[in-house]
């Protein structure tokens, strides 16, 4: 469980604004932060990572596991203990010494970034220009850590063939996978993703969502991602927090928030996608709703976030349904 409370004055292009946020997040879940730019989404990630100060704040990560467990096993192992005195400890050791509290301004407690068991994927990826893909991952390993995770991650993210390249010779999608693998290599408990997919095209975006889900499950992470992009949120997030003017305006599942809000429609039906076909520059999505097949035109971007077999809502508010008597 993560408990987060923070206040901070934000200085945005539209003036000053108070960020005043509190939420709790279950271990193992994926939370999406959604809202207009300047609402404070990235700031929340940075506060969690200890990269940005707060006026008042409290962050506590409780629950089992300290990031050293092997993927696929139970998160209850608790090795190493007080033995490792290195300043570059495995993530989690330091924070467990403070009772899992990362930040408590009332007690002047602020765990430095490097001692927080986090992985951070920056919007611009922040890869090290002088290191190869493999070296980026090896750099991220704590001292005395099991090095086999590097090969494991290279395989999982399909980066083996690129492992000796430097970032300048990688595409955006490849860089993103390296950034994701690098963030996970030190076995963090909390993965923070700052609009990681915004720079990518749709096909790549869809594939990378797969990578994120795969890594999230395999390494038993708790994940918080900032996203503007609804299909991505629907696909990845268990829970969504909508931020407006520095405050939480809604916190619920994606379906409850967006289907209620965005589609106060005059017509809606649920169904299952049975076919996705490209037609010129658009896609035709065939949806089986009850016994009818509905064909809907979608852009490439929208189509990339859909797949056959997916349950969807078909809705419209742009036209008025008319009723015709039959017979």
């Amino acid at each position: 469980m993560i408990e987060f409370r923070a206040t901070k004055m934000l200085h945005t292009s539209s003036g000053h604004q108070l960020l005043d946020i509190g939420f709790q997040l279950k271990q193992g879940s994926i939370l999406a932060l959604y809202g207009p730019s300047g609402a404070g989404k990235t700031t929340i990630l940075r506060i969690l990572a200890g990269l940005t100060d707060t006026t008042t704040g409290y962050i506590k990560m409780s629950g089992p596991g300290n990031g050293n467990h092997k993927g696929g096993e139970s998160g209850n192992s608790n090795p190493s203990g007080p033995g490792s005195q290195s300043s570059e400890t495995s993530p989690g050791n330091e924070s467990s010494q403070t009772g899992g509290i990362w930040l408590d301004t009332s007690r002047h407690l602020n765990l430095p970034t490097r001692h927080r068991p986090i992985g951070f994927v920056f919007q611009d990826f922040a890869l090290f220009p002088h290191l190869t893909v493999r070296q980026q991952l090896e750099f991220a390993l704590p001292k005395k850590a099991d090095r086999s995770i590097v090969t494991e991650l290279l395989t999982m993210m399909e980066l083996e063939e690129l492992q000796h390249r430097k970032p300048a010779l990688l595409s955006g999608g490849q860089q993103q996978r390296v950034a994701l693998a690098r963030a996970i290599a030190r076995r963090p408990r909390l993965l923070l993703l700052d609009e990681p997919l915004s720079a990518l095209d749709d096909e790549m975006r869809y594939r990378l969502q797969d990578f994120i889900l795969k890594a999230h499950r395999f390494y038993q992470l708790t994940t918080i991602l900032v996203s503007h992009y609804l299909p991505e949120i629907f696909r990845l997030a268990d829970e969504v927090i909508v931020l407006e003017n520095g405050r939480i305006s809604k916190q619920d599942t994606a379906a409850n928030i967006f289907l209620e809000e965005k589609i106060s429609s005059k017509f809606r039906a649920t169904g299952e996608i049975i076919d996705i076909k490209p037609a010129d520059i658009v896609y035709i999505i065939s949806i089986l709703s009850a016994n009818n097949i509905v064909k809907v035109i979608a852009t490439g971007e929208e189509a990339a976030a859909l797949h056959i077999g997916q349950k969807v809502v078909v809705a419209s508010k742009a036209f008025n349904p008319i009723i015709l008597p039959l017979g």
């Binding site: 570059e88 430095p112 920056f122 922040a126 991220a140 690098r182």
Partner: protein, 225 residues
């Protein structure tokens, strides 16, 4: 026949100055680039002072400071048996102060031009400031490091006023090339002065040429590396 000892002494002085400045300059520039302090502007101003101050002014105050008659000089003399006036170690210390901005400023610009993400990414990967500095930041600023090293080396070769004030012209000890030229002109041995001058001219040109070649190499688009 040319007496090579002043040129050799100049190179030795420049080398020691550059090496010590690299050790001092990296932490100072790093601190200036990444830490907030109210008196940071004052520190920057003091470091850059040798760029605008007449070398004789700097030399004069160093002479007062190092003199065994003054407080600091007497302290060194009595406690450590170290004399800095008219000695080679004195010249090295004076040169370090004199060339400090030529090391610090390129390094500072180098640190400031690095993307902040590099620093932050390293911290989120559990790395200390020390590891971040040596394994992430410095490897990505080879250009500024080479520029700082070469400029402080070249600037030390070219110093005259400071050396004159605190080193004098003791052959083999403090008589560096620039001072030797002055002495030869005074003598007057114009031919000898001209030989030293030509060597210094060629040396300075070569050094600067190297700096620009290096900068062109590291300023190429990243994909070329």
């Amino acid at each position: 026949m040319i007496d090579w000892s002043p040129l050799w002494l100049s190179l030795r002085l420049a080398f020691f100055t550059m090496a010590i400045l690299l050790l001092l300059g990296i932490p100072i520039a790093w601190w200036l680039a990444f830490h907030r302090a109210r008196w940071k502007a004052a520190v920057e101003a003091i470091i850059s002072l040798p760029m605008v101050l007449p070398p004789s002014v700097l030399g004069f105050y160093l002479l007062l400071a190092f003199s065994p008659a003054g407080g600091f000089g007497r302290l060194l003399d009595q406690w450590f048996d170290v004399r800095l006036v008219f000695t080679f170690p004195g010249l090295v210390i004076a040169s370090i102060i004199y060339s400090l901005p030529f090391m610090i400023n390129p390094l500072l610009a180098g640190f400031r031009s690095l993307p902040t993400g590099l620093h932050e990414a390293s911290r989120t990967l559990g790395k200390s400031d020390w590891t971040t500095l040596f394994r992430v930041l410095l490897p990505n600023m080879r250009g500024p490091l080479i520029t700082g090293a070469v400029l402080s080396f070249a600037h030390t070769i070219g110093e005259f006023g400071v050396v004159m004030m605190i080193g004098g012209s003791i052959p083999g000890k403090t008589r560096v090339a620039s001072v030797a030229i002055y002495d030869e002109v005074q003598s007057p041995h114009y031919g000898q002065a001209n030989r030293y001058a030509l060597v210094l001219l060629a040396l300075s040109f070569t050094i600067l040429l190297l700096v620009y070649l290096v900068n062109h190499r590291y300023n190429k688009p990243k994909s070329m590396l």
